[in-house]
């Protein structure tokens, strides 16, 4: 039935290698990696860029093929294609990722964390080496199953080969991944982008920002504790949207919104609608204290970068305030100006990037201090030539997941 029933006594490092040997090797790899971390002087993460990463991947797959074809009898290759090696590498990768999930991956004061490189696990030698063992296992068993040419291996191949492709292409591709950001201003062309290291990079085309648009929600009403300054109802969630004619209840106060102006400025006793930069929303509210029937009417405003906010004190303990409107949607109407003199118009929006000449162009951000009056729109440009390979891997795994759902666990079922 299984090796469990017939316990064979064998010595360490005797054929075939089991879990003890596997973890021995795996932990050895990790310790080697940590030593490299401690003693390596280079501050930069280890990456390969084109053409070296392509050569590396092709060479790697070739070596795996050769190893599988002609060296299956060697101890190491036999071990790598067996479960103990896979499980030990999955467990050890999991442990290192768990460290990443607990220790913040930012510069640290702690000497131990710094020396062992535990705050940059993704580029830590220990992680890279154990991941190398992981992908080697994955690659070898993928080759093994593919070369068996059996339909029943389909799910297995989709899952394992898909993961192999996504992982190797993802890791090797980081060297060729370019992420740039560019500031564009309304009515001006821009073509100088900056990368993560703040280097200036000239683009082979320019962006002309025709219009930057922000749609906002209406502001919300909140009851604020005068002493602590914090929101005093509903735990600060699900606040009421300010809409003309609505009546809301806070504790024993009835608040009616008599009027609402999305852009307004105070003129004497009241607010008037204007069309001016920095004019905040304002609302006229009537507050009735249900207990003693006293009534107050006043204008309140969320304020903006140009104008102060106004709240209404309704008792010793509480005030009614208007929150700063949240952003619903922001978009940039841009023209891409090419060297050939063409103009390509498009509207960029969050979740709606635009593809141009191998670049994906994203709406990233804007001047949040200016809010809807921002003339600045920050775009991001991403070029990832390895993406097709990664997507092939991802879609193989998606197909594999459907296969898995449908077939269930056919192995232990019988």
């Amino acid at each position: 039935m299984s090796e469990n029933n017939i316990r064979i006594h064998r010595n360490l490092w005797e054929n075939p290698w089991g879990y003890v040997e596997s973890f021995f090797i795996g932990i050895g790899i990790i310790i080697t990696g940590l030593f490299l971390e401690v003693f390596s002087t280079s501050q930069n993460a280890f990456t390969l860029s084109y053409p070296y990463n392509t050569i590396f991947l092709l060479g790697y797959v070739l070596v795996l093929l050769v190893l599988y074809k002609w060296f299956t009898n060697s101890q190491i290759i036999r071990w790598l294609t067996k479960v103990p090696a896979s499980i030990s590498s999955i467990v050890l990768v999991t442990i290192l990722v768990m460290i990443m999930g607990i220790i913040p991956q930012i510069p640290s004061e702690n000497k131990l964390i710094n020396n062992l490189g535990l705050n940059h696990i993704t580029s830590n030698w220990a992680f890279l080496l154990i991941l190398f063992q992981f992908t080697t296992c994955l690659g070898l068993i993928s080759i093994k199953r593919i070369l068996q040419y059996k339909w029943s291996n389909l799910g297995f191949i989709l899952n394992h080969t898909g993961l192999f492709l996504a992982l190797t292409a993802g890791i090797l591709g980081t060297g060729d991944l370019q992420r740039l950001s560019i500031n564009t201003f309304e009515g001006k062309p821009s073509w100088i982008a900056t990368d993560a290291q703040k280097n200036k990079i000239e683009l082979p085309f320019a962006f002309y920002l025709k219009d930057f648009l922000i749609e906002e929600y209406n502001p919300k009403l909140a009851l604020v504790d005068n002493k602590s300054g914090s929101i005093a109802h509903n735990d600060g969630k699900n606040l009421y949207l300010v809409e003309k004619g609505e009546t809301y209840y806070f504790n024993n106060f009835e608040v009616k919104i008599e009027d609402f102006l999305p852009n307004a400025i105070r003129f004497g006793m009241r607010y008037e609608p204007v069309n001016e930069i920095g004019s905040p929303p304002a609302a006229k509210i009537t507050v009735k204290n249900v207990e003693n029937d006293s009534i107050q009417t006043s204008w309140i405003s969320s304020g903006s970068f140009r104008y102060p906010y106004e709240s209404l004190k309704i008792s010793e303990d509480y005030s009614v305030v208007m929150t700063i409107p949240e952003v619903k949607k922001f978009s940039s109407d841009i023209d891409i100006l090419t060297k050939e003199g063409k103009r390509i118009n498009t509207v960029l929006e969050v979740n709606k990037p635009y593809k141009y000449k191998g670049w994906k162009i994203y709406q990233l951000s804007y001047d949040d201090k200016m809010g809807k009056w921002s003339n600045l729109s920050i775009l991001e440009l991403v070029k990832d030539p390895w993406l097709p390979l990664i997507y092939i891997g991802i879609f193989m795994m998606i197909a594999g997941a459907f296969y898995m759902f449908w077939m269930g666990n056919k192995i232990t079922k019988n």
């Binding site: 029933n5 467990v91 768990m98 999930g101 991956q105 949240e326 969050v350 991403v382 898995m404 269930g408």
Partner: protein, 267 residues
Amino acid sequence: MTWIDFPLYSSIIVILWIIGLVFLVVSYKKRAVLKIANLFFVAGWVVIIVFVIKLWIELDRPPMRTLGETRLWYATFLPLIGFVTYIRWKYKWFLAYSFVMASMFLAINYLNPETYSKTLMPALQSPWFIPHVLVYLFSYAVLAASSIVAIKGWYDNYKGNFNIETLKLADNLVYIGFSFLTLGLLFGALWAKEAWGHYWTWDPKEVWAFLTWMGYLIYIHYRYFHAQNSKQALTILALAFVVLLVCWFGVNYLPVANTSVHTYTQY
């Protein structure tokens, strides 16, 4: 047809589904009743489809932009996935789960009318949102069920009447749950590429989702080759579920939380 009609429609749907659920419970004693249960489920589902279509026509855009609309889609698709899973695997409790969850989402919408029109923050306004959340809802439910089976296995072990069939049920549930988990992770990656420019950024929630995935991966590989070591397998299954719980609830309490894009509490 707008949200104004929602209380009427949702009441009809939930009542139909509750009747269906009652028949489903009865069907554990009398098999033939299951057909009647399904009839009520399908009837309720037809009503929700009618509501979604009419709302879509009325709004003149896909109803996928607000919190209320998102919940409406959950309520629409949960029964569908529930049925497909039921047809394939015949787990009645799973069918019940999908309808209870769907009714719950309708009830949340019914009780919070102000969220009908509450638009989502820009990054969440994506066609990936609903599939991403849906498959995770299912995955967590099925994996939780596998843990309950594991607890039963432990108890049986303790009592000395352990049956290997228990573990086989757990296996199958893990396979189904793991396939949903994989889809959730990959849909998330594809969405991230559209929204943030990169498919994988080792965001804390991503890290823990990956760890959950690895945990069940260990279980699957262990079971594959050690079909008889039931105790160890049960332990791995329990540990994997602990990781899942950390991913689900715990990430916000870890020192890494404030760097996550998955904390939407302020919205």
